[in-house]
Amino acid sequence: MTETLLSFEESLERFDPAMGLEVHVELNTNSKMFCGCPTEFGAEPNTQVCPTCLGLPGAMPVVNRTGVESAIRIGLALNCRIAEWCRFARKNYFYPDMPKNFQTSQYDEPIAFEGFMDVDVDGETFRVEIERAHMEEDTGKSLHVGGATGRIHGADHSLVDYNRAGIPLIEIVTKPILGAREKAPQIAKAYVAQLRELIVALGVSDARMDQGSIRADVNLSLSPKGDGGLGTRTETKNVNSLRSVERAVRYEMQRHAAILAGGGSILQETRHWHEDTGITTSGREKSDAEDYRYFPEPDLVPVAPSREWVEELRGTLPENPTVKRARLQAEWGYSDLEMRDTVGAGALALVEQTIAAGASPQAARKWWLSELARRANDTETDIAALGVGPADVAAVQALVDAGTINDKLARQVFEGLYAGEGSPEEIVAARGLAIVSDDGALGAAVDSAIAANPDVADKIRDGKVAAAGALIGAVMKEMRGQADAGRVRELILEKLTPAG
């Protein structure tokens, strides 16, 4: 199904975008939100369940204190007000991903509300207003059987695993983001990137977009340029990488623009984002909130965080990311552009951890922004999900610093890391990548290079030492880049100039 798109530029000539972002953060508590079941990712199906999260009759939920604490800390970090008193609510719907036939959530009394986050895009600051952050629970995972692709359509039946049902989620909802214009896609991406950074700094979630511990929904509408109103919106669900957040906003802007420019109207609906093709397709028509028949959850008493508790939690907040970025930039000696590129690549925390693991700031930046950013781009993978982490990068750089490998060989080590061949040290050993500085092996290679290039050798004998470069190149070529270039140079001069 191919949709007609207007070009991005033309969509901006005619329309103003309005965005709203909903981000679900799965907390990393030991146990679920309303029962004591474990929350390990990837456990065998239905091994982390109990009567409460299976919705069996008579089971009673009790709130996880750490879940509430994380919700309050997230709210505070987003400059929100914290409710003095709030309740959970039942969001009623009939779908087998929740065995209770409702999801425990919060409705008109979120635990945190009215906050903001300042987002940096191209060196400019854009304030994103936060409407609310509320507590809820995750749903089970469905596997659709019988269809060709594991998707809903064409499936004969579905199989449900409730391990994830009941894991605490915090849903963070922005107010409509207006006036973003051509920067809308970048702002959306930067917002989610900075939010993820904040979540990482708070330590309240694994923050792995590829594993679904952070999931973004993108609401988008267009209104005629300068009109100031809000058009009909679509909600694109489960946009699960930073890159896709940007692409989904751009795609929906162009798709809406084509429909509106053609005199059509937008259907208020859920759209599915397809990571592989970079398009959205129609989902269900969006239910009205009243169709969920929210009502206060009678089995859970209200949460009334004391102001003392809130202030105590405020004291545990990490450094404000904006302040922290300025501090790190000064510490690392990065230029504005280097810092901006690092943040823009979603690599700030990764670089920080790489430096903490022993690499120099410049080396850490070099690997993340050249080698790993390129790899992320080529494979359309999140940079944090390449399977190569800060410890690996620091280990590679340590090998370079020790003279075991050079930068060129290091790239081969990264190839090995992508392929899962083991630790950097193991890859160097298995692939035989270590630089040769043994005089026996080098000497033989130098002799054959001299023999093969008598003209060059004569020049060096005549004192033109600069010509040694050509011989070094020949030796490196013969030794597949693994020769210790400094030692090769010394050997050449020893052999060709009397003074050595």
């Binding site: 030991n30 146990s31 199906p45 109990c50 779908y95 039946h157 199989l159 269900r284 009678p298 009334a304």
Partner: protein
């Protein structure tokens, strides 16, 4: 639902749920109701709503609405894992299971 009762409860008798509303709710609840059942149920549900609404007449202006029977808040548990059910136990009551998962009919519509 039309005509919420006033605080004195006098309008409670007019609380009414229409046939269309019942049909919509049945649809949301995935309950298949025939026309005859809708004709039969809508007036009955209206009577139930009227009865419930009469309770609002009991509370005076000084009684705030409440959602819980006990005036309690902040009942929380520590974040500690407690053993739950084995997969076998969890699936023992399921009408059908496959690959250690609950088997459910083909899901119509989308996930929420």
């Amino acid at each position: 639902m039309a005509d919420a009762p006033g605080p004195d409860g006098t309008s409670a008798a007019r609380v009414e749920i229409t046939r269309d509303e019942v049909a919509h709710l049945a649809d949301l609840a995935r309950i298949d109701l025939s026309d005859a059942e809708l004709d039969h149920l809508a007036p009955q549900l209206s009577v139930i709503l009227e009865s419930v609404a009469s309770i609002t007449g009991v509370a005076g202006e000084d009684v705030p609405p409440t959602s819980h029977a006990l005036p309690m808040s902040n009942v929380m548990r520590e974040d500690v894992v407690v053993p739950g059910l084995s997969a076998e136990q969890a699936l023992s009551g399921a009408p059908a299971s496959e690959q250690q998962r609950f088997s459910v009919p083909r899901i119509l519509g989308d996930e929420q």
